[in-house]
Symmetry: C2
Subunit: 688 residues, 2 copies
């Protein structure tokens, strides 16, 4: 289908408008990009972009939104094969592939062999097992998955129904799915790809259940890829998103595997069925893995939110609607209510990216301490990681949703780039610990720590307990004891360290209050489940700002990047404080967070948002997300929104010359024609 | 693909669990259903279900989630044709088709000819025009659409770029799309179906622009359905949801139509170009149409939320996770944090359905008054309708989202029935007035009314101004002047009329505060945009509860349905009050909404939620939504969740015998095989 080529967009056109926005920058977007992501990451980005641009027939995504699920899978399998070839040629590395998947292309079907199968072998296999399983997996000579979740059990993995029974006669384990609900379900890379599954099952030796452990089970022949006898395996069907992944199901009917295939790092079963656990392993190390996974999620969510904010910022900066008579219409980003919804997300994307860097450093520090036998940092690190995974996934998923809404009707088109992307990241609020369950874990730690501090017990020192102690020591009746006392609301809003103090004070008061209700008034944790969610949020918001401020402090004090970063910090902090002012109103009076201060902070917040407005486009440019990654008409770097949008629409299968004509002809002959001409008055129609 | 048939779900099984839930009912779900929906609606439901069950090859939806977009359209065109045939046979009515579309099947591609083209002809056409256009449209001898939105203009329709210039020489209008951005966009039923478009364009006569008016433009031949010369028309491509609708684009290159085709109810152009407007038409009547559309959205949103709540309630009642050792695991609906997220949505679904009935009655009352020349109810009705459209779409869309999250991982599967459904209803927060824009309209009315009341001006009497007056007259310093004064928090929570008073008081104080900031302190509306959103919400929440209480009061006071409805009311009201307690904390001290009362109300709220828990399953049964409408493994009436889920997965195209084998073979030969065997160590693989 052709569109009249003489037609141009109305003036002032979107490309020019975007150029004008870029002139407002008070800092260098390139410098900012380097500061936020680091040189190494930017080099990887460039390398991957070059790779994609060199082979558009493999990596091109322009037509992706038009594909059916099977076509999408075809696209992704093709991509996966090419990545493996480039890996084998030495053109790219394992790490490049990890960076590619999900960030440049959609999540590929081999993603779980990389993301879960291989790491499990690395962490839980013996050297001998690594030789047999890990080596071919690293070279993609086998493809594996991590089969833990069952149809009937997700969160409560201790109650998984799949069994692995030791058969002494043949020196084997018999893996069995005893019920319908024991069917392994949701397993990524299993539906079509995997030759092997790392199956989590109840280990039963001589009638005794030892709990759940991982077993490597060959499920499909590497020769013809047919399932082995006793194995029923398939794809679980279409999902809200993530449809380029072959999430699968697996039922095992008394399938035998060699005893060797139990991953033996944490447990061994001898030839005659003696079960032993190595003595030098502290079970707490598994927490370290969870922390790492959550740190990755937090950082990943930062990039995803940045992507959506890029689209929404560029588009609202060029989309015009209403305005003064006789003048060009006003860009919608100039409207207060648009700024109020968008700018805080821009700030939070920076906060998320910045705090993730610190979060990883904390994790590395903690891991190093653990390696030397010091577990003192682990508990807080674990609590922080639950909270940050929850905060970042919730903020990103619903932030993307807000960005879509901000783009108006066009946000609803797949060509906005915000929709498949939204559905793909959605599961982050559920997997690796459902967000509501995670909050309870964090709050349990906080209440325990607060109780310890209040009783003057020896409680380990960390970022969380430090402020608990600080506010316990500050005399509550001591007027002017807090940093915000005797400051005007403007002074408060302009002082990031004071804002951080208020965030700390709020969370400490909230957790102290909860601790008192439990440990003094005798209420149960179960009755305080809502409070528990609120306390977790307040703690996470403090930690986000704490880590983000440390990240900013890496810059020299005279860095030209600081003013805008400080503003981003202030908007994040004020957004947290004004989110539900009931939390501020209910703080102890002695803290002097007066209702006037609360109202004034709300106004200061709006002021700061306005101050950030002119930097919005340069700030999203600094995320450095390429058009290929955005795959969005609305978010194009050059601002040619409507030209691109029309081009994509013309390419809709229903519109294509030839094949589209055929489809429409068929619809007309079968359905529309008989509708028009089937009635009594059909004859008189054609003259209209 | 076959699944081992001997495998059953783990015990206690989901079907038995659901049966047990039903035994807890303290009321008759059938009676409740009749009260909420009315006999007539239930009869229509039954008739449509019978129709669907009689022709599963036409109306069956089991395989819908597996279809590509073209296949889905095929399904819906087939359905549309059958509906038209049944209409022509006299088996079903026009109203039945309206009730069917979107509620029983997905939104069909003829939906906008029914929903917008026909009503526009009815309202804006003359009798002669109705004869020529409306009559064939009603009989589907022509199919039309309503082409208003353009690529570059949605909200600000006054700036639409399309022109309709009167050509006196030939007695025609020339309809023209002068730019790329003037392309009509998003137009439902246009992409593939329509033969005619009602095009909204700037009327230009003798060089003068008269503003926008509707023109009937033939766009495709009814004989062969080919576009006419000068017409470029197509489908706008894939969307987040709503993909069974052929939203289209349309560019008109100086297309001529007879002068007759301008819809002439509100304007006429004579043969020699004299423009006249009939004198007996008050332009305010168009507000009536908007109110009606929004009332329909509110009621529709109630049904949608009810559907999602049905799925989530049934599934959380049977899904078990964790629990005491030695006992069956606990249904997740027994966990406080699940109840806290789900039960208020159940209550709000009832509130939405109940208030919609009253809303329609108000609308009818208002229309009748208008017909007799009394416009006094119109302004408040319009403000209320903006607020209720906003509240109900926001609550339903994000309520459905919460229901999905409540179903855990399985909520993410298309087979949950919550996903395509979510994406289909999503645009309700955008169309018919973006929710953020609507809030401003409501609040503008409220501030004006409050200013009038405060100055003692004559302000029309209605539900909104009545409480404004009530709280203006109540002496603020008069202790015990309010109904909640001198009551314990338990008494407050148990008294629905007192809860309603607090909701009224909160909104009145908030709007008075805003009015003072504008009319006394001189702040601008633009600076109070956030406050404006909050005020609108507080007003809508009051109106929802007011209308819902009136709806409940239709029942005799001894009706066995009352206790549970009163509980649903209380949970709705308390959810509104505790949503952001900052609003309560900042009320004037004289009102005596003490911080103790606020905290206590939060506890009472949780208590009420617990009280509703046992009635949850009977309450969703009372929505009477059939399995066909739910199209959900998780929400099945019989509770056979996992059996159905597995059956649907086996039917995934990738798993099917024959065609699925072919696809997988192709993937293996082209991609997976070369991955496994392309490396250096390929030879050693097969023994694993």
């Amino acid at each position: 289908m052709l569109f009249p080529t003489h037609l141009k967009p109305a003036e002032p056109n979107t490309a020019t408008s975007l150029e004008n926005e870029r002139r407002k920058a008070t800092f260098s977007p390139n410098e900012m990009e380097t500061f936020v992501f680091g040189k190494k990451k930017l080099e990887t980005r460039e390398k991957l972009l070059k790779m994609m641009r060199a082979e558009p027939e493999i990596f091109g995504m322009e037509n992706f939104y038009h594909l059916s699920r099977v076509e999408k899978l075809d696209h992704c399998f093709k991509q996966e094969l090419r990545l493996v070839q480039l890996l084998r040629e030495g053109t790219i590395t394992k790490e490049d592939i990890m960076a590619f998947s999900g960030s440049f292309g959609p999540q590929g079907p081999y993603d779980l062999t990389r993301g879960m199968f291989i790491p499990t072998l690395e962490k839980q296999g013996t050297e001998e097992q690594k030789e047999v399983f890990l080596k071919p997996a690293l070279d993609y000579r086998i493809i594996g998955c991590y089969a833990q979740t069952e149809m009937g059990h997700g969160s409560n993995i201790r109650s998984l129904e799949t069994t692995a029974t030791f058969i002494e006669e043949t020196d084997e384990f018999e893996i069995n799915s005893p019920t319908l609900t024991s069917t392994k379900w949701w397993i990524g890379s299993l539906g079509i790809s995997s030759t092997h599954a790392c199956v989590i099952a109840q280990l039963i030796v001589k009638g005794k259940n030892y709990g759940i452990f991982p077993f490597v089970v060959p499920i499909r022949s590497t020769v013809d890829h047919k399932p082995f006898p006793g194995v029923t395996v398939g794809d679980i069907g279409p999902k809200f998103g993530f449809n380029t992944m072959d999430n699968g199901f697996l039922s095992l009917d008394r399938v035998r595997i060699p005893r060797f295939n139990l991953l033996q790092r944490y447990i061994t079963v001898s030839r005659n069925g003696a079960v032993t656990r190595p003595k030098n392993i502290d079970p707490r190390v598994t927490y370290g893995t969870m922390v790492e996974v959550r740190a990755h999620i937090a950082s990943n969510m930062g990039e995803k939110l940045a992507k959506a904010v890029t689209v929404a910022t560029r588009y609202t900066a060029v989309r015009r609607q209403f305005g003064e008579a006789g003048k060009p219409e006003t860009p919608v980003l100039d409207y207060g209510i648009v700024q109020y919804r968008l700018i805080p997300l821009l700030a939070k994307a920076y906060a998320m990216l910045g705090m993730s860097v610190e979060f990883f450093e904390q994790y590395i520090k903690c891991t190093a301490a653990i390696a030397s036998g010091d577990f003192s940092l682990l508990k807080e690190m674990h609590a922080v990681s639950c909270g940050l995974k929850r905060w970042s996934s919730e903020t990103a998923v619903y932030g993307v949703d807000t960005c879509r809404h901000l783009c108006g009707g066009h946000g609803f088109s797949q060509f906005s780039g915000l929709n498949e992307f939204f559905t793909d990241i959605y599961p982050n609020i559920i997997w690796e610990g459902d967000n509501y369950v995670l909050a309870q874990q964090t709050t349990k730690y906080l209440v325990k720590a607060a109780n310890g501090v209040s009783k003057g017990e020896e409680v380990e020192k960390n970022d969380t307990t430090n402020v608990m102690r600080q506010f316990a020591n500050n005399g509550a009746s001591n007027k002017g004891a807090y940093s915000w006392n005797n400051l005007s609301s403007k002074q408060v809003a302009n002082n990031n360290s004071v804002l951080l103090d208020i965030l700390a004070y709020r969370f400490v008061c909230m957790v102290n209050n909860m601790t008192e209700r439990i440990h003094v008034k005798g209420e149960s944790f179960e009755d305080l489940l809502v409070t528990s969610q609120q306390v977790c949020t307040a703690h996470s918001e403090y930690i986000v700002c704490l880590y983000f401020s440390r990240f900013i402090n890496r810059l020299p004090s005279n860095s030209p990047l600081r003013p805008v970063l400080d503003l981003l910090f202030a908007v994040s902090a004020l957004s947290f404080l004004t989110r539900n002012t009931g939390e501020l109103y209910s703080l102890p009076e002695s803290g002097q967070i007066t209702s006037q201060l609360v109202t004034d902070l709300e106004s200061e917040y709006l002021e700061k948002i306005k101050l950030l407005r002119p930097q919005a486009v340069p700030l999203v440019d600094a995320f450095g997300i390429s058009d290929e990654q955005l795959n969005s008409s609305l978010g194009r770097y050059d601002g040619k929104v409507y030209e691109d949008y029309m081009q994509r629409a013309l390419n809709e299968p229903l519109n294509r010359d030839g094949t589209g004509d055929e489809i429409r002809k068929r619809f007309f002959e079968k359905y529309i024609g008989p509708t028009l001409h089937g009635g009594k008055g059909g004859a008189g129609v054609s003259k209209l």
